[in-house]
């Protein structure tokens, strides 16, 4: 299981890109932390989610 924004989800084996796409995230509006470290955008395709991973996906909205 992978913990994403506090919820445990069966996403082991998927790449980060696959998860972001199926969850309808706009890649231009997010920042992803995995196990306490930022994931560079160029690595979204390469990273495979594994059991025990903790992800925080920050999705920005407009206004300031």
């Amino acid at each position: 299981m992978v913990i994403i924004n506090g919820t445990s989800l069966p996403m082991d084996g998927k790449t980060l890109s696959e998860y972001l796409e199926m969850s309808n995230y706009n890649p231009l509006r997010i920042a992803v932390e995995r196990n306490g470290h930022i994931v560079p955008k160029a690595k979204y395709n390469e990273i495979t989610l594994t059991d025990g991973d903790v992800l925080e996906i920050v999705s920005f909205v407009g206004g300031g």
């Binding site: 231009l28 509006r29 997010i30 920042a31 932390e33 306490g36 470290h37 930022i38 560079p40 955008k41 925080e56 920050v58 999705s59 920005f60 909205v61 407009g62 206004g63 300031g64």
Partner: protein, 211 residues
């Protein structure tokens, strides 16, 4: 008549205590974007006696900014960097300012922020917020970053909060109310979010790293 620098420091030390005030005075904080968030953050930090502010914005003051941004009617048409510098110097005459009237990009961000100890993200557009946050976290892991997302509309101010995402990255706002979905920006709620950002900066300097 403007007080002397010694009188100024003494007054701040009486409010904050000497130890904390010295931390504020020796701090260098960057404010990226000088709109509703950035102009209000800058005012809070200047009043608190932060030593140096790095102000970055490419834009000019527009009549549509005045309902929430800390500019004056006669400043319409001025660069925001210069207009805000003028206003901050009236409030805090011994504040040191570094102005950059340019657009932040992936390329120039590391250089613009090199002298900052703490960085405030204060942009309007979601894509710009994400660009800056990713760039800072990827290339400047030693710096603290305080960002904001979600402060539009007339909903309760109580839903605006500060959350610690990682050890050096904080996010203020309700994380949902989006100007993209047609909500307008209301001065008091934007100021509330700006105050969250400014307050987190002061707490980091006070070594109180919980939100």
């Amino acid at each position: 008549m403007i007080p002397t620098k010694e009188e100024w420091i003494k007054a701040l030390e009486e409010r904050h205590g000497q130890t904390l005030q010295q931390k504020f005075a020796s701090a260098s904080v960057a404010v990226c974007g000088l709109g509703g968030l950035g102009s209000n953050i800058s005012l809070c930090l200047a009043r608190a006696g932060i030593g140096r502010l790095i102000l970055i914005d490419f834009d000019r003051v527009d009549i549509t900014n005045l309902h929430r941004q800390q500019y004056k009617a006669h400043q319409i048409g001025m660069y925001k960097t210069e207009a805000l510098a003028e206003n901050l110097r009236e409030i805090a005459p011994y504040l040191s300012l570094e102005l950059h009237t340019e657009t932040m990009t992936e390329e120039n961000t590391p250089q613009l922020l090199q002298n900052a100890q703490i960085i405030c993200e204060a942009f309007d557009r979601a894509e710009n917020k994400a660009m800056l946050v990713n760039r800072v976290l990827e290339t400047m892991p030693e710096k603290f970053l305080v960002a904001a997302s979600g402060m539009a509309g007339i909903s309760s101010a109580n839903s605006v909060r500060t959350r610690r995402i990682t050890s050096r990255f904080y996010l203020c706002g309700d994380e949902s109310s989006d100007t993209g979905s047609g909500l307008g920006l209301v001065s008091s709620r934007v100021m509330c979010c700006a105050a969250h950002e400014a307050h987190m900066v002061l707490r980091i300097l006070a070594e109180q790293t919980e939100p």
